[in-house]
């Protein structure tokens, strides 16, 4: 076999020999196993990955019958004038996903895609959602990010922990995060309840824990409250990164310290809080090959699957789950990541 044509984690072209590909796969699964204290991929699984990445095909796919459910996080805002310059309303975009793009579910959201700004315009958002629910058949999520950072001064009410921490004002930084959590949980419950009262199928908590352990705890509390208020509500929690940053460091949920948790431990808490779908995120390393990144991502996701009772939909957009960190991810590596994650990770969707 000659050189294997593939891509790096930044999307640039690279060529690997067979031994280099094997070495990448072995190194990556070992790295994930050591960091997460989880089992590495087996010889058979690495061999399957090798076959997928050494294929010369431009595009690969799962075997018939192994297809999975797709969920989204764009809020129907990708087409907006200032991004793609296709001036569509968010409901029209969701309908395009439904009728043209074979989407199994859709996601409606505010252009800012955070719960805090939605609160002020929630009735407009409800109108869009109610219209979407009348004209669409596939399940519709209302998506937003917890975005704890939006609660800091000068835009928000709380002192900024990122300014306090470098000054050594640790206890004040922690107090600020605890105050931010209270606001965030209240907003998430308020918006989530409004959307449920408008008929939504589910709430998508997207990019959870982007601001660290306080962001994660605020979300878990919101999930718990929403599930208690509306037992029938569908809740998807998608993460921002592969482990929870300890920006506070002392926060716990159900007796478990949140800082430093990897996906297989995150899912236990998300499930306990009442979510019906969990979306782990494994960051793509741009300096490594896509094969390296996928082997590493699958190692984490497989442990997550084995430790959960709810469906697992790993995030596999740009820069996550072995998909390159580039605005236009090449289909050869996206399709390989997709097939590998389904066939080896045994995921329920993505």
């Amino acid at each position: 076999m000659g050189k294997i044509y593939t891509k790096m984690g930044d999307g640039s072209v690279t060529e690997l020999s067979e031994s280099e590909l094997k070495r990448d796969l072995e190194e990556a699964t070992r790295d994930a196993a050591e960091r997460g204290k989880i089992p590495p991929l087996s010889e058979d699984e690495l061999s399957h990955l090798f076959d997928i990445y050494s294929s010369a095909a431009r595009f690969v796919g799962v075997d018939c019958g192994n297809e999975v459910v797709l969920t989204y996080d764009n809020g129907g805002c990708k087409s907006r004038g200032h991004i793609m310059e296709v001036p569509l309303h968010k409901v029209q975009e969701a309908q395009i996903y439904e009728k043209f793009l074979g989407a199994d579910s859709a996601d409606i959201g505010h252009i800012d895609y955070s719960f805090k700004p939605v609160k002020a315009v929630v009735d407009f958002e409800q109108r869009s959602l109610e219209y979407a629910l009348l004209v669409m058949t596939i399940p519709v999520f209302y998506g937003s990010q917890p975005n704890l950072g939006s609660y800091t001064q000068p835009d928000g009410p709380c002192p900024n922990p990122m300014e306090l921490l470098p000054q050594g004002r640790i206890s004040e930084a922690r107090a600020a995060q605890e105050e931010m959590m209270e606001y965030a949980t209240r907003d998430m419950v308020y918006v989530g309840s409004k959307m449920y009262e408008s008929g939504v199928d589910g709430i998508n908590f997207d990019t959870t824990a982007a601001a660290g352990d306080a962001d994660f705890l605020a979300t878990l509390r919101a999930v718990e409250i929403l599930k208690r208020k509306h037992p029938q509500i569908g809740i998807m929690v998608g993460m921002a990164g592969e482990f929870v940053l300890g920006m506070h460091g002392e926060l716990t949920y159900n007796g478990v310290r949140l800082a430093g948790l990897y996906p297989h431990k995150q899912v236990e808490l998300v499930e306990k809080a009442g979510a019906t779908i969990f979306g782990p995120t494994i960051n793509t390393n741009t300096g490594k090959s896509c094969a390296w990144n996928v082997a590493r991502a699958i190692t984490f996701v497989k442990a997550c699957i084995e430790n959960s009772n709810i469906p697992i939909h790993p995030n596999m957009g740009m820069g996550m789950g072995g998909v390159p960190m580039t605005a236009l991810p090449p289909v050869d590596v996206v399709s390989r990541a997709s097939k590998a994650m389904v066939e080896i990770g045994r995921i329920d969707g993505l």
């Binding site: 595009f59 690969v60 796919g61 799962v62 018939c64 019958g65 192994n66 297809e67 999975v68 459910v69 797709l70 969920t71 996903y97 439904e98 009728k99 793009l101 074979g102 989407a103 199994d104 579910s105 109610e130 629910l133 009348l134 004209v135 669409m136 058949t137 596939i138 399940p139 999520f141 449920y196 408008s198 008929g199 939504v200 199928d201 589910g202 029938q232 509500i233 569908g234 998807m236 019906t276 779908i277 009772n309 709810i310 469906p311 596999m316 991810p329 289909v331 996206v334 399709s335 997709s338 097939k339 994650m341 389904v342 995921i347 329920d348 969707g349 993505l350």
Partner: protein
């Protein structure tokens, strides 16, 4: 689009939306969700992702199709039938019923 082609169920082209509903509302894993839907529709697991089989079946069951049929169910009407067919509660369907009582 690459994910849809490589590993997606196909949404309304097939039974993707129905399987998705079982995951969202009941938290079912993919195997259980597919078996549940296949059992309700009386088709095989393979049929669930086949646009020809499911296209015809969706037409017969009047549960919403990609190419809208004259007089066929659209949006909320299709979801009334999906809720009944799958034996699940659909939030917006229940609200619609409440409003026209």
């Amino acid at each position: 689009m690459a994910h849809v082609s490589a590993s997606g169920m196909g949404g309304m082209r097939t039974a993707g939306d129905l399987v998705a509903r079982m995951q969202i509302s009941r938290g079912m894993k993919i195997k259980e969700a597919k078996e549940y839907v296949a059992n309700k529709l009386r088709v095989s697991i393979l049929d669930l992702s086949d646009p020809v089989v499911m296209g015809e079946l969706r037409k017969d069951l009047n549960i919403g199709t990609v190419a809208t049929l004259i007089g066929g169910a659209r949006g909320i009407e299709a979801k009334f039938r999906i809720a009944e067919l799958l034996g699940i509660e659909i939030n917006c369907v229940n609200m619609f019923k409440d409003r026209i009582k």
